[in-house]
Symmetry: C2
Subunit: 391 residues, 2 copies
């Protein structure tokens, strides 16, 4: 789900994500390389418009002076993901095709997480619109997810720099080429991987954080099929960079599990794809809510492994794969614009429905801000619960 | 890995697991239905022979009377897996074909976990031998893992009851038929599942605990490909029985992660398959130690989904599957006694090597007791680490 389907992009299957008219003025972010410094946060100068202004204040990443027995909290003790992105909670909303436009990303950032626009399903012009609306909708840090195999990638990068986007998550390609360029423009860069090997390459490329995504994640997926539980400790050992866990994280308890394994933050797709602010169709959301365990499956391994809902289209793919169909035939079965048809237009039987395995745990469409708050609350409770385990 | 390959059993590909001669007398366990009661532990009457007698004492599952501010620990607060099986740590060694004979199981039980004999790769006569040696080797609780599709299952059940085995883990079949019979004989029964649906069926069948095993586990595996991270919370919600997490658990941190998700214990296969006491061949162990991420893959989905090392045999299977080979052809490619050939005899290229995804994290062959101790130590450290997470 984190990057666009190439066959869609190639077919120019990219349109506007419909949204309400935004009347607020555009915010002119001043370039700031250190988001951990509250002085660099733009919120004093850019009042929130058209967005939920309720939300926790980002906690300044500075020494907290306390009295009595408590020790002052050193900056080095702080969660590195929060510090790197200047966010309150180490919760990142995955940039997903057809789901994460400005409304979802803004809601997550407003609630103290990191919202990401999913550039994968946007024409360059559409992306510009969403970026500008984001600047109006929130004064909190946010970013853009960019699949590096995007056909007009150079144009996209120019837009990100020109529009002074501060945080970019790259995926589906090598971070070597663009990371130095983005750094030069003061952008913080994270890259998504599915193995330790690529995590090491990310470190060589100089990225600032790594998202390690397991087999249970929705949409596009690694070839090695390593699950989040087995992947995170290995990526943790392979790199000194802060690691964000992705895939299968659908609760505060799972967030704690990921952090016990060595992640310093989580990237969550499925919960936010099925949130109120997600631009996915209602039909898609309802179909995903009704899923049971086993309702999604990794397929299309001869093209690019992708986790899909087992609907009519999936059945055709599975039947073809069982008899040894080649990649060309599989491409024909998918047809054009399959993920747009499924996720955005709501053709839940013949469209390509990308969602994570954890969808079978989701039972309601909720506002993204509530999801963030619930994650944090459940995480804190889980902290107490595991501390009390005794044997 | 938890149950035998049917094609092996059918071909009577079952032999002795070689072992040292045991000179100690056989222990005559008196039937005891409540292992939580220390009075029922047989160790006073049955001195340890031929086994490492060093190990933590099981903690009695009774009220602990303390003074001062501390509250007495209620029995209801105790870990239910420890209480149910009368063990010190909620760590269960998976009963694995060609790996878990009496020496491995005894070492785990001696260290405070629960050792399981893997009946799947044993002739009934061999199982009797191993049971009798277990009784001599340890006075701690232990059990037997039985795949319910074992061809001589009725004979096997008779043996378990006649030999007064106290704990049985069943798998690969319905627990409905045998659970009442085992209960009548005073046996504690756990059943292995890969979905909430089967967890509910286990509860209906009256089992005492559920092992929920995810996609990352070695050997035979569920059809729904649900990973441990996504499976455990769903099984937790589906049943009130104590849940044991299995699949991908290779460290104390992962053990804590599983327990944060709602498990009350863990079943560990891969680490113990690669331990000093495992009866697998040295060649198998070394091949598994050298695995990288992606070194195992779930295949044979047209037969029974099985996670195998990607060796020469796997390549043949994968090639056949890619061109749509049917189940008969796949069976021919495997040939007879494939897992015995691979795991036990050490044909690491043309044998069937069953091991979990987490093998790529294992870097040394260690005594099983050390593995248990390290798991507990790392679990306790992880408890402190996650309690200290602050954002």
């Amino acid at each position: 789900m984190i990057y666009n389907l190439l066959h869609n992009i190639k077919n120019q299957d990219i349109t506007y994500i419909p949204e309400n008219r935004v009347t607020g003025r555009l915010s002119g972010h001043s370039p700031c390389t250190n988001w951990a410094n509250p002085k660099n946060w733009p919120h004093r100068h850019h009042p929130i418009k058209n967005a939920n202004s309720v939300g926790p204040k980002p906690r300044p990443a500075v020494f907290l002076l306390t009295f009595g027995k408590q020790q002052p909290q050193k900056q080095s003790d702080m969660n590195r993901i929060c510090k790197l992105f200047g966010i309150r909670y180490p919760i990142i909303q995955g940039g997903m095709v057809w789901c994460s436009g400005w409304r979802l990303a803004a809601a997550v950032s407003q609630a103290g997480g990191l919202g990401l626009l999913g550039a994968g399903s946007m024409h360059p012009e559409t992306l510009v619109e969403h970026i500008r609306k984001m600047k109006v909708a929130t004064n909190r840090p946010w970013g853009v997810n960019v699949p590096l195999m995007y056909p007009e990638i150079d144009r996209l990068m120019d837009i990100l720099i020109r529009e002074e986007v501060k945080i970019v998550f790259t995926s589906a390609g090598s971070p070597k080429k663009f990371t130095p360029m983005l750094h030069e423009a003061g952008v913080t860069v994270a890259h998504v991987v599915s193995s330790s090997k690529f995590a090491r390459k990310c470190e060589e490329a100089g990225v600032d954080a790594i998202v390690a995504e397991g087999f249970e994640a929705g949409g596009h997926n690694g070839r090695e099929e390593t699950t989040t539980l087995t992947l995170i400790p290995q990526v943790r050992r392979a790199t000194g960079l802060p690691v964000v866990a992705a895939g299968g994280i659908g609760s505060g308890e799972a967030m704690l599990a990921a952090m016990a394994l060595g992640a310093e933050g989580v990237q969550i797709g499925t919960l936010f794809a099925l949130s109120a602010e997600s631009s996915a169709s209602e039909a898609f959301k309802q179909r995903c809510l009704a899923l049971d365990e086993g309702g999604t499956m990794l397929c299309l391994k001869k093209l690019s492994p992708t986790r899909l809902v087992r609907n009519g289209l999936f059945d055709k793919v599975a039947e073809a794969e069982a008899r040894g169909a080649n990649s060309e035939e599989l491409r024909d079965i998918l047809g054009k614009a399959a993920s747009k048809r499924g996720i955005f237009e709501g053709d839940t039987e013949q469209g390509e429905l990308e969602i994570g395995q954890i969808a079978s745990s989701v039972d309601a469409i909720r506002p993204a801000g509530d999801i963030v708050r619930q994650l944090v609350e459940d995480f804190r409770k889980a902290q107490k619960d595991v501390a009390a385990i005794d044997f």
